[in-house]
Structures are given as C-alpha cells and as structure tokens.
C-alpha cells in the first residue's frame, strides 16, 4: 500500500503543475490591475513613479513565463508568495482558514450521510411503497433548492423567528465543547448537506436495491441470520462501495464550492477568502488557494481510494486493475 501511496504522490506532481499553469494563465488574462490593489483601491491616488516601483518590486514587469517559473521555483520551496491585499504570506493565510473549511465539509458530509443512508436504505427495503416515494420526492426537492435559499430560510426560522440557534459565527470543538460547536455548525452544515443528501439518497437506494438482489444476500438469509444482520452487515457494506466514489468527488466540490454557504453564515473558510481575493485580483492568493484546494482534493481522493480498497478487498491497490 505504501508503494501505492508513493506512486500516487508522484502522479500528483504533474497534475499540480498543470493546474498551477492553468490557473496562472487564467489569471494572467483576467482583467484587473494588481498595482492598484497593492497600493489601495478606489480612494487612493497613485503616481506613475510609484507604480513603476511596485511593478518592479513584485516582479510584475517581467514576462509571463519568467513570472510563472519564479512562482514554481518559490512554490517548490513551500513559498506561495505574498498577498497583494494583506501582505501576508499566502500559504499561511490559506492554511489558517483550511480547518474551518474542512470542518464544515466533514460535518456536512457526515450529516448528509446520516440523512441519506437511512433514507436510501429505507427506500430500497420498501421499494415501490409510500416510503420510497417520499424519499424520492425529498431527494428531488433537495436537488432543486438552491443552497443560499435554504440557508437563509433556515436562519430566518431557526434563529430569527424561533431563536433556537445563533445566526452566524463559529465555535471551536475543543474549546467551546460539542454543544456550542453543534449550535454554530448545524445551519451551514445542513444547508450544504441537503443537496448532497438528495443525490446520495438516490444512489444508495439503487445501490442497495442492486445488492439486495445479489446471491450473497440470499445466501446470508439462508444461513438463518436475522434480517438486521443481513441488511446492515451483508448488504450495507457492499452497497456503500459505489457510494464511496461519489462521496469522494463531492468532497472536492465541497471544499471549493461552499462559498455561498460560507458567505451567508460568515463561516471563516477558504471559499470566502477565494471570493474576496478574486474580487480584489489578489493573484498570489488565488493561485495559492487553487493549488492548495487541488492538493487537498487529490489527498482526499487518495484517502477515498484507500478507503475504497479497504471496504472492497477485491481492489488491490498495488495492482492496476
């Protein structure tokens, strides 16, 4: 397995190079003037002399490829540059927000699984019954509701009308304890989880139906095992195998795609930083965010693949299938 992990890490290098090149060139052609940003925005006056100074200082006067190569060189030393906007090292700025993003992603993933697993299983076990229809209807509604809408509705009811939860902010699990932590994360978490739970429910339903028709499930029953054991031991693990891959690719979306939720709930994550940086043309920051997000995506996918192999012993990691 270690050789497999090492191989995957090797494979990630060219991927990250391509990503960095793509984002670098994308940003290069995106309109917007970084000098203005370094010197402050609309309310400030800039002289030509100072502009020149800044361009040189930040290497903005160099040709595209030189800039890119410099970026790569620095990145290899773990230096992703300095933010135009805040003058802070990009790496630190992103890493300081990563935990919040991860927390939210992990929580909403867990939450969506908590919803979709029982619902999907129920729909499969009682398929063609009223339960099935309810699960399907819920799933459809879930996919067709925009996250920001759901987030705001939650907030209006849970926090403004009923006063159950604080509207914004975040709490530290270790410092403030689980109750506080849940209070803050539950709304952003569920607004993210809803859409995912919807698709997962459908996946789990069909996967479970598929597995329930398999010979080994019938065989497990023929041993005289209790129905609970048959479903949760024999069918469930197998049904989750295809779900794992889907979950993996969804986490990628969660990391970079929670922007809207993060803005609504003032969640101190990477997504908000990304949006702010984009609107400010904070190129080093955008590059850094993209690279680090892609890296985490690759890492998560690696983990997912390992989990996959762990759940499904037929997949051997060190052998290409």
């Amino acid at each position: 397995m270690w050789t497999y992990i090492i191989r995957r890490i090797f494979q990630a290098v060219p991927t990250l190079l391509v990503i960095s090149f793509m984002i670098f060139s994308l940003l290069y052609i995106t309109p917007g003037d970084p000098v203005d940003l370094i010197l402050g925005t609309e309310d400030q006056q800039v002289s030509e002399e100072q502009r020149q100074l800044i361009m040189e200082e930040w290497g903005l006067d160099k040709p595209f490829f030189v800039r890119y190569l410099n970026f790569i060189k620095d990145a290899l030393h773990g230096d992703l540059g300095t933010s135009y906007a805040t003058n802070q090292p990009v790496f630190e700025s992103v890493m300081i927000r990563m935990p919040a993003t991860f927390k939210l992603a992990a929580f909403s993933m867990v939450l969506s699984l908590l919803i979709s697993v029982p619902l999907g299983t129920l729909a499969a076990l009682k398929h063609n019954s009223i339960w099935d229809s309810i699960a399907t209807a819920l799933a459809t509604i879930g996919v067709s509701l925009p996250k920001f809408w759901f987030g705001l509705v939650l907030m209006i009811y849970l926090s403004l009308k009923w006063g159950l939860l604080p509207s914004t902010g975040s709490a530290e699990l270790t410092v403030d304890g689980p109750v506080e932590f849940l209070k803050y994360i539950i709304m952003p978490g569920s607004s993210l989880a809803l859409g995912m739970a919807a698709t997962q429910t459908r996946m789990i339903r069909s996967s479970m139906l598929d597995v329930l028709g398999q010979d080994y499930v019938r065989y497990a029953r023929s041993k005289g095992l209790k129905e609970k054991v048959v479903i949760w031991m024999h069918a469930f693990k197998n049904a989750m195998i295809p779900v794992i891959t889907v979950v993996g690719s969804e986490i990628g979306g969660l990391l970079g795609g929670a922007v809207v939720t993060e803005s609504i709930f003032s969640w101190p994550g990477v997504g908000r930083l990304a949006v702010n940086s984009i609107s400010k043309r904070d190129y080093p920051m955008i590059q850094g965010i993209t690279l680090l997000l892609c890296t985490s995506y690759l890492v998560i996918n690696l983990i997912i693949d390992i989990v996959y192999a762990w759940v499904d012993p037929r997949i051997r990691l060190d052998k290409k299938s």
Binding site: Y216, Y219, K223, G224, L225, H234, N238, P313, R314
Partner: protein, 328 residues
C-alpha cells in the same frame, strides 16, 4: 418405505403476481425425501427448480405467493411459518448450497467471519477461540487444505473449487438435517466437480443428511442421486429410482432429454435427438399436458386434458401415453 421421511411436500404451488399476469413457476408438485437419501430434481432451465428450493427454505421474493397442502420438514409442518419462525428453521433444520460460489459468498468479508457467524448464531455464547477451532475443523472436513490460512482470506482469493467447499462448509456448519444443493457443481470443472460430488456423498454418509439435489446435468444425477424427479414447466412429470428412470424413462420428455445427451445413446457424428421448440411461457402454459406442444408422440387428448398421475410401485409418471406404451 421403512425409512423415516425427512421432507414431505404435498401439492406445492408457488405463483408470482406480476403486472403481466400470474406466473405459475411451481404448480402443484409433491415429493418426499427419506432421511439420509438424495433426491435429484432435474429439468431444463426455468422449469421451477430454484423456486421449489426457495419455497422450501422460505426465501421467496416478496412477489411470490406460496400454497401447499403440506410441507412437513423433520416432522414439523412448515407450510405457513411467519418470518421469524422461518428464519429459525433456516440453517438449523435446512440449509442450502447455491449454484454460484462466485457470487454467493460476500465479497467484502473474510471467510472467517462468514463461517463464524453461523457458529455464533446457532451456539449463542460460544467463545471466539471455539468458533475458530470449529471453523478450522469443518474446513478440514470439506477438504480445504491449510484451513487456518484460508480463514484469513477473502472469497475472491480462492479458486472456484475451494469456494464451493467453503460454501458447503458454511451450509453444514449449522448441522442441518436436510440440505438443498441448487446446481452445486455447474460452475466447476469436471475434475473438481467429481471431487465435490464425492465430498457430498461422504458428508451425507457421515452426518446422515438428506439432500435435495437440483441440477440439469444427468451426469451429476447418476453419480449421487438415489431417486430422480424430472420437472417440466412447474410440474413433476416423472419420478422414480435413479437407475430405473435412466434405463427406462417412461415420460417422453425424460426420454428425449436423455437421448439428447451426446455420447449416451447416439453414436458419434450422427444427429442428436433434440426436443423441438422451447420451454413454454410460464404466463400461458398450454392447456392439457404442458409438454404436448413439443412432444413428438402427442395425441389429441394430450392437448386438451391434464394427464393423470400413474403410480406403479415406487415410480410415478404423468402421461396419457404411459397407458398405451408408446415406443418411437
């Protein structure tokens, strides 16, 4: 009939309610198996063999509906058991070996777990060490070399023959008095098949089990069965001692079936005897004898009336022609 009956089935009917109509997969069959003996149920694909066995072990799909005058298993009427009671007889009284060892073992668990759970289920409170001990014992018994190591592997790491042995081990772990083997060797090589059949015979002797063997392979039947029941389109058309049925089939279907096996009666290079047409659609079985449309000897009456069951000694057949000794 001195021997005690292990299983006695009377007029078993298993029907499916489908949107297109009622599928009468099993439509009034009766048979019995004596303790320690083997009954082979043969017939073409789709004639209802698997449904029969699932009816006995109470694992029918939800759309199925089961009726029977009686099903007596080990002296107990098990016709109308509720789900929980049905579960309790599975494994303990009756267990099953499936056709496909490839797909019948759960791919994500080690053999140890799949075998162990049977011991735990039937011996509550048993210690882990004992489970392991017994697992090794039973694997040895079914001829799995290096049982300790094999416990640690996943099904896909075993060859087909070993997998089938493991499945037999699992099915026998609960010490059932009756085993249904649904095409246990179809997926295997001839040489391995021979080993498995030998093993079954051996185990049957050791444990005094009854076996309901389901197959379409007469070769298999000839090696292991005491009695044979030939099924066609949800009915048993002929039943009798294995040697009798083979040497002198009474029903035209049985006869043609045996003749269509290459190398049995027809010599090399010549055309084989074959049954024309294919199995009738279970949604609309022909009136009268179900084999009549394909039967080269069919007479008018065959198309109109259901044939009576003619019993003679310990043999029975359902055919009009039996009365007037057809010979072709």
């Amino acid at each position: 009939m001195t021997n005690e009956k292990c299983l006695e089935v009377k007029n078993l009917r298993t029907w499916f309610h489908t949107p297109e109509g009622i599928v009468k997969s099993v439509d009034g069959i009766s048979f019995s198996i004596e303790r320690g003996k083997t009954l082979a149920l043969v017939g073409e694909s789709g004639c209802g063999k698997t449904i029969t066995s699932l009816s006995l072990i109470k694992l029918l799909p939800e759309t199925a509906e089961l009726h029977a005058d009686s099903i007596i298993l080990n002296g107990r009427d098990v016709t109308n058991l509720d789900k929980n009671e049905a579960r309790k007889i599975r494994g303990a009284e009756i267990s099953m070996i499936f056709q496909e060892p490839m797909t019948s073992l759960n791919p994500v668990y080690r053999i140890e777990r799949q075998l162990g759970e049977v011991f735990r289920l039937h011996n509550p409170g048993i210690s882990s060490a004992e489970v392991k001990q017994r697992s090794i014992e039973i694997l040895k018994k079914v001829g799995v070399p290096n049982p300790e190591e094999r416990l640690k592997v996943y099904p896909h790491q075993l060859s087909g023959g070993l997998r089938q042995r493991v499945m037999i081990a699992i099915s026998l772990a609960s010490n059932p008095r009756m085993v249904i083997a649904d095409e246990p060797t179809t997926a295997l090589d001839v040489t391995i098949q021979a080993q498995i059949l030998d093993l079954l015979k051996q185990l049957q002797k050791d444990m005094n089990m009854s076996i309901l063997l389901i197959t379409h392979d007469f070769g298999v039947v000839s090696q292991i069965a005491d009695r044979v029941a030939v099924m066609y389109a949800g009915r048993i058309v002929e039943e009798g001692k294995m040697e009798d049925v083979f040497t002198d089939p009474w029903h035209p279907y049985t006869k043609l079936l045996i003749l269509s096996i290459p190398g049995i009666k027809v010599t090399r290079g010549n055309r084989l005897e074959s049954i024309q047409g294919s199995v009738p659609n279970p949604l609309k079985f022909p009136e009268g004898c179900r084999f009549a449309p394909r039967c080269p000897y069919a007479k008018d009456i065959c198309h109109k009336q259901q044939p009576p069951e003619i019993v003679s000694g310990d043999r029975r057949v359902s055919c009009f022609l039996r009365g007037d000794q057809h010979e072709g």
